[in-house]
């Protein structure tokens, strides 16, 4: 239950509100997750007036403000196609207008294709206060703690890695029940993460090559049982998903 609403116009005043001891104060980006029914009383800081809606390229680094909506990501010419595709896959048109990158990082679950892609790409999340850059993979397992009294201001991706994902779903727009996202850097470094279950996508592997990726993905699905699929099924198709990701990255269609 939201008991206070604030809309600061500067980062400083936003951080001041977020840093209060009482009432508990949460960051309201698009609100598509936070505004759902909740009995717990808390205050919100709406960041819509903060300058967090820029998308810029600096060399190979794509920097997207935390307040950028998923639809803005899609409509921006700097955005790589893979991220656009992940945004399309994330949710329907209306919700993409309000859902933000920051909201996705703060509240996205294990079915989030976008979060999986960001994780595979080892995206860096810019946090205030402290102007600290933290890999998204370090935030996801500890979101409540890491993001407490802090504001996500931007997400940066070094696009020198090639990335891809593959997923399985019951229908073309239904959420994925199993998926793998993969990034490969020029030096062979390969990151694999799996998604389609749980609280957030899981990093399965970060190695100097793709060796062992199939096994790593299979292992990452070991504890994935939920009403939508068994862990056994997900483990079974993990190698298929990884093989397809590798083929995508090498340009060989499967």
């Amino acid at each position: 239950m939201i008991v206070e609403y604030h809309r600061p116009s500067t980062l400083e005043s936003a951080l001041e509100l977020i840093g209060r001891k009482t009432p508990e104060t949460k960051v309201l980006a698009g609100g598509t997750i936070l505004n759902r029914k909740n009995d717990h009383p808390f205050a919100v800081v709406d960041i819509q007036d903060l300058p967090l809606k820029q998308i810029t390229m600096d060399g190979n680094v794509l920097r997207m403000g935390a307040g950028v909506s998923l639809q803005m990501v899609i409509e921006n010419h700097e955005t790589p196609d893979l991220i656009k595709k992940a945004c399309y896959r994330e949710t329907s048109y209306n919700l993409r207008q309000m859902s933000t990158l920051g909201g996705c990082i703060g509240g996205g679950d294990g079915k989030s294709v976008l979060l999986a892609v960001l994780l595979a790409w080892n995206a860096q999340v810019e946090l205030h206060p402290g102007n600290e850059n933290i890999p998204v993979g370090e935030i996801l397992p500890l979101r409540q703690k890491v993001l407490s009294k802090r504001l996500i201001t931007a997400v940066s991706i070094n696009l020198s890695a090639k990335s891809t994902y593959e997923l399985v779903s019951k229908s073309p727009s239904d959420f994925p029940i199993a998926g793998a996202a993969m990034s490969q850097w020029p030096n062979g470094r390969t990151r694999v993460c799996v998604f389609g279950f749980g609280d957030h996508p899981l990093a399965a592997m970060d190695g100097s090559s793709s060796a062992g990726a199939e096994m790593a993905a299979r292992n990452a699905f070991a504890d994935s049982e939920d009403p939508h699929a068994t862990a056994e099924y997900r483990e079974k198709i993990a190698p298929v998903l990884v093989e397809r990701c590798l083929a995508n990255l090498s340009g060989e269609a499967i």
Binding site: M1, I2, V3, E4, Y5, R7, L28, G30, G31, T32, N35, R36, K37, D39, A43, V44, D46, Q48, Q71, Y88, S92, Y93, N94, L95, R96, Q97, M98, V168, S169, K170, S171, P172, S173, D174, F175, I177, A178, P227, H228, A229, T230, Y233, K236, I237, V240, L241, A253, I254
Partner: protein, 994 residues
């Protein structure tokens, strides 16, 4: 907090709490075009335009919208006729929605119109893919999205200034495909769902259809202009002074006695008007099934009971000044439960020592129900000599199949508003398919005579059987009786999943005897049907599983005369949410096993599966095999089926989907460059029913107005299907008037004649015949008066009434003289021998002529993951004469889409505590506009002799064949013999591996 909101061009100062959503604030301020459908933004019915983008107002705080421009549907378009005041009319987008038949129930229409408007303001040349993406934010459970997509593309075309083809070329039959079979080229995978340039479906017309003026024409829906403007037409779109908001405490446990309920704290909460428990209410047993008297099922339900039987069962009612206070009060009620073992698997229900759900002494049996065995209904039907039939077979093939529990998921939740009127009569304004049953069933429950209850049915935002249930009306009524105040009660989307009704899940065993030449000698089905905690519709839904699905295949030769068919079923109680009525009413559950089994038999015999089917299916002139054995718990009477267009449906459907070029063609089955993919094609042939003979009754009343227009009052409940329009078309055809001169009102138990309600595919056939008969009586009166007027003009030429023709809103004499209906009305109402020209008629049918259909599906299966993509659905339907090809094809498209969910995505499951695992439209996915396969509808008309215009039903049959056609296509693609739906990737992969 005070907010300055810029709404529809006006700056408004509005007070709102910090947690109030924009949806709540807009509706509180009278913007009723913004609809509630869920609480997590998934349905999109609440969409508005914020600045220039469609967003879901249920997920935005009102405070977030400050400083932005808000546009609701109320800012777009107006009725083209506003008297002396100039009207700009509807917007181009609205016009296109009306023209294309994109509006069915109309609940999501404002949101779709806004989404389309925002798109076309930015882009006048959208691709179909872009249109589908923009509409993806608004779920529609009625249309299948084809017509809304066509509407947006059509609007774009208008806005580009192009010359757009009219939907209804006057004088031309709509979309006749003629006698020649058309072969349609395969669409490429690059194309998403093909949007035809023509809005109309292909129709194989009867000669009679071509002679009609209004019947058979794509008339615009009579309620379309209202709905496209988002007018306050639905149950919740009213304001009443002093209204209270209801909430119900739902059980957190699956099976328990209530030891105590402490309501003190809840009652003490400021703003709480009352709290009711079972101790406060009279103990009246009833059934929530909305059916005619006597209810063909057990009476096993109380408004509130001292026992709970599923997670989500009722425990206590609260009425409070606001919904928030009511919710808070619910949390303050303390309940002590004594838990009992729960039955969560239907296989356990009749086991020795199983816990008994219904041990209440008030339980009233119907037929063979037996609460001591957890048996809500038992069905044993033997036609012919089944055992002898098996002996005569060369081969007996058996198989086990299962179908899941699924939800109707109408976008408008269950909602009711109750109040005492100025005469102290209880008024229930409710979103129901069965207003007259609501009144009759609730009278004893509330302790009121029927005459002191009035039920008003406004527009319904989808029902699909879910509102053939007297589900929540009693809650509001009890609270109004307790407080004396109006009460508003609306389900949340979660409550729709946990405390509503759904489709009966079934486990089915099939056993079929066949000869080597493909003749079926005996066919047997046993169904274990799970009615959940209460037996509403238990007997009749499951009875229809056999009555319709097992009636299609009678066998060939001597078996056509004496088929051997057995249908046994046990309908058992379990501690899960009750099952109930859902479009198709047990028949989709039957056709999954029957049609999968027939495919299996044909392949085992090495026969062409279509040839095998048509060899054994029922033909015109034959007896409905069940008609001597079973009739919804009432006396059965033999019935000959006069019209069967199935063979032609198969022929035309095959041509349209390109069957001959695909079936058995290995090249077509593979996908170039994708060795993991296989294509498959499948068919299912199905039949339904049209109304319940000797039972379903509908009435219509028509009166003539001064200007020669007419009011038609009908008890039939248009739940978005277009039945008001279709009934008006039939009456208009009789009277020779344009359909817009028939003003239709439905339905209100005080004003409209009785009608059983919208179910059993009966409205067009039953209520339509009543409308035709009433119109015929009116026509007779007009002809008499016209002849008198003609003769008064010229006494030398005597014109008999039967010589008068009614054409173009006029009465015409054989000598060419004409009297307009306005002149006749003035004469009747004001000038001579004054009378109100009016008539009432009702109709009950002695027969239930079945519609037939051939359903085709094309799929692509991923052999490595089991993922199935349904690429195309084609349905060729014999529904008799099609009164309105646009509304009828909308029924088929929407029905196929619901059935597609049944086939591949939708399933309600429960954990070990009996808790629902799908409580929202994320976990329970219904198809969106951006993922639809190509849909195509063909109508193969027959002229059903038992109806004045040759009509049979159309509404339910599209639910029957999609799942088995998809299952058979999967088999065709990869030899995976799937027994259970939905065809999830995991199930399909397991089957492939097996």
């Amino acid at each position: 907090m005070n907010l300055k909101l810029h709404i529809n061009g006006v700056q408004m100062l509005i007070s709102a709490d910090p947690d109030e959503t924009l949806l709540t604030v807009l509706r509180k301020n009278g913007f009723f075009g913004v609809k509630h459908g869920c609480e997590d933004g998934q349905c999109g019915a609440c969409a508005i335009i914020l600045d220039d983008r469609p967003v879901n107002s249920c997920l935005i705080l009102a405070a977030q919208a400050e400083g932005h421009k808000i546009r609701t549907i109320e800012s777009i378009g107006e009725h083209p006729e506003k008297g002396w005041k100039t009207s700009d009319g509807l917007s181009i987008v609205q016009k296109a929605f009306v023209e294309t038949g994109a509006i069915q129930c109309g609940y999501c229409t404002p949101a779709q119109v806004l989404a389309a408007t925002s798109l076309l303001e930015k882009n006048l040349n959208p691709t179909e893919k872009e249109v589908r993406d923009v509409l993806s934010g608004v779920l529609c459970r009625c249309t299948g999205y084809l017509k809304p997509v066509q509407a947006v593309l059509r609007a774009a075309s208008y806005l580009r200034g192009e010359n757009v083809e009219r939907v209804n070329p006057q004088g031309e039959p709509a979309g006749d495909i003629g006698p020649q079979v058309e072969d349609i080229e395969d669409s490429t995978s690059e194309v998403m769902t093909q949007v035809k340039t023509s809005v109309l479906p292909k129709i194989w017309m009867t000669p009679q259809t071509k002679t009609f003026n209004t019947v058979g024409k794509p008339e615009k829906k009579l309620d379309a202009i209202k709905l496209v403007q988002g007018k306050p037409a639905f149950t919740g779109d009213i304001e009443l002074r002093g209204i209270l908001y209801a909430k119900v405490l739902l059980s957190p446990v699956a099976h328990a006695k209530i030891i105590s309920i402490d309501t003190k704290e809840a009652k003490a909460l400021q703003g709480v008007a009352t709290v009711l428990t079972w101790q406060d209410l009279p103990r009246v047993v009833f059934s929530t099934a909305g059916q005619s008297d006597p209810i063909p099922g057990p009476l096993d339900t109380f408004s509130l009971d001292k026992k709970v039987r599923f997670v989500g069962d009722r425990v206590a009612f609260v009425a409070a000044e606001t919904p928030e206070i009511a919710e808070q009060a619910i949390r303050l009620i303390k309940v002590e439960y004594e838990e009992e073992p729960a039955i969560l698997d239907s296989n356990d229900a009749m086991k020795e020592g199983a816990p008994v759900l219904h041990d209440e002494p008030e339980f009233v049996n119907f037929a063979d129900s037996n609460p001591a065995r957890n048996l809500a209904a038992e069905i044993r039907i033997d036609i012919g000599d089944v055992e002898q039939g098996f002996k005569e077979a060369d081969l007996v093939i058996e198989g086990d199949y299962s179908v899941p529990k699924v939800q109707q998921a109408h976008i408008e939740p269950h909602i009711v508003v109750s109040y005492w009127d100025e005469d102290d009569r209880l008024v229930l304004r409710t979103s129901t398919q069965v207003p007259f049953h609501v009144r009759r069933v609730l009278a004893p429950v509330l302790g009121l005579p029927v005459k002191r209850i009035r039920v008003i049915k406004p527009r319904i935002g989808g029902g699909f059987g879910g509102k053939q249930e007297i589900l929540i009306e009693d809650v509001a009524a009890h609270l109004t009786i307790a407080t004396g105040r109006p009460v508003y009660y609306e389900y949340t989307r979660e409550e729709e999943f946990t405390a509503s009704r759904s489709r009966h899940p079934m486990k089915v065993h099939m056993k079929t005897g066949v000869k080597k030449d493909g003749t079926i000698t005996a066919n047997e089905m046993y169904a274990l049907s799970d009615t959940g905690a209460y037996g509403c519709h238990a007997l009749t839904v499951t009875g229809n599983t056999g009555h319709k699905a097992m009636a299609l295949y009678v066998g060939d030769g001597k078996y056509r005369v004496d088929p051997n068919i057995r249908f046994y079923a046990d309908v058992v109680y379990t501690n899960t949410p009750p099952s109930g009525a859902y479009r198709g009413y047990g028949v989709p559950q039957g056709y999954w096993p029957v049609e999968r089994h027939m495919e299996k038999i044909a392949r085992t015999l090495g026969m062409d599966s279509i040839e095998f089917r048509l060899k054994n299916t029922i033909r015109s002139g034959e007896l409905h095999p069940f008609s001597k054995s079973w009739s919804e718990g009432r006396e059965p009477r033999p019935e000959i089926i006069h019209t069967v267009g199935l063979e032609e449906c198969v022929r035309q459907g095959k041509a349209v989907i390109g069957w001959d070029g695909k079936y058995g063609n290995q090249d077509w089955h593979t996908v170039q460059g994708k060795p993991n993919l296989r294509r498959g094609i499948g068919i299912a042939t199905v039949m339904q029913g049209t109304a319940i003979p000797y039972l379903d009754m509908g009435g219509a009343s028509i009166k003539m107005n001064d200007d020669g227009s007419f009011n038609m009052l009908i008890g039939a409940t248009d739940l978005g299907t277009g039945s008001d329009t279709v009934l008006a078309q039939m009456a208009a055809e009789v009277l020779g008037i344009p359909v817009e001169d028939m003003i239709v009102y439905s339905s209100d138990t005080d004003f409209t004649p009785f009608d059983k309600g919208a179910y059993a595919s009966s409205t067009t056939y039953i209520s339509g015949t009543a409308a035709v008969h009433a119109a015929q009586k009116i026509a007779e009166r007009i002809m008499i008066r016209a002849s008198e007027m003609f003769n008064h003009q010229d006494a030398a030429t005597a014109i008999a009434p039967e010589q008068v023709k009614l054409v173009d809103s006029s009465a015409m004499a054989p000598d060419g003289r004409k009297l307009s209906f306005k002149e006749i009305a003035y004469n009747a109402l004001h000038h001579e021998n004054q009378e109100q020209i009016m008539a009432v008629a009702s109709y009950v049918s002695p027969v239930s002529p079945p519609p037939f259909a051939a359903q085709f599906a094309e799929v692509t299966v991923d052999l490595q993951t089991g993922e199935v993509k349904v690429e195309k659905l084609v349905m060729a339907v014999d529904s008799g004469v099609i009164i309105n090809p646009v509304t009828a094809s909308g029924q088929i498209e929407g029905g196929m889409t619901q059935a597609l969910g049944y086939a591949v995505t939708e399933e309600m499951t429960y954990n070990q505590k009996g808790e629902a695992q799908q409580k929202n439209l994320i976990d329970y996915h219904i198809f969106r506009s951006d993922e639809m396969p190509e849909l195509e509808t063909l109508f193969i008309e027959t002229f059903e002799p038992s109806h004045p215009f040759g009509v049979k039903a159309v509404a339910e049959i599209p639910l029957d064949g999609v799942a088995p056609a998809v299952g058979n296509a999967i088999l065709d693609a990869c030899s995976a013999d799937l027994r259970d739906i939905p065809a999830t990737p995991e199930r399909v992969l397991k089957t492939i591996i097996r």
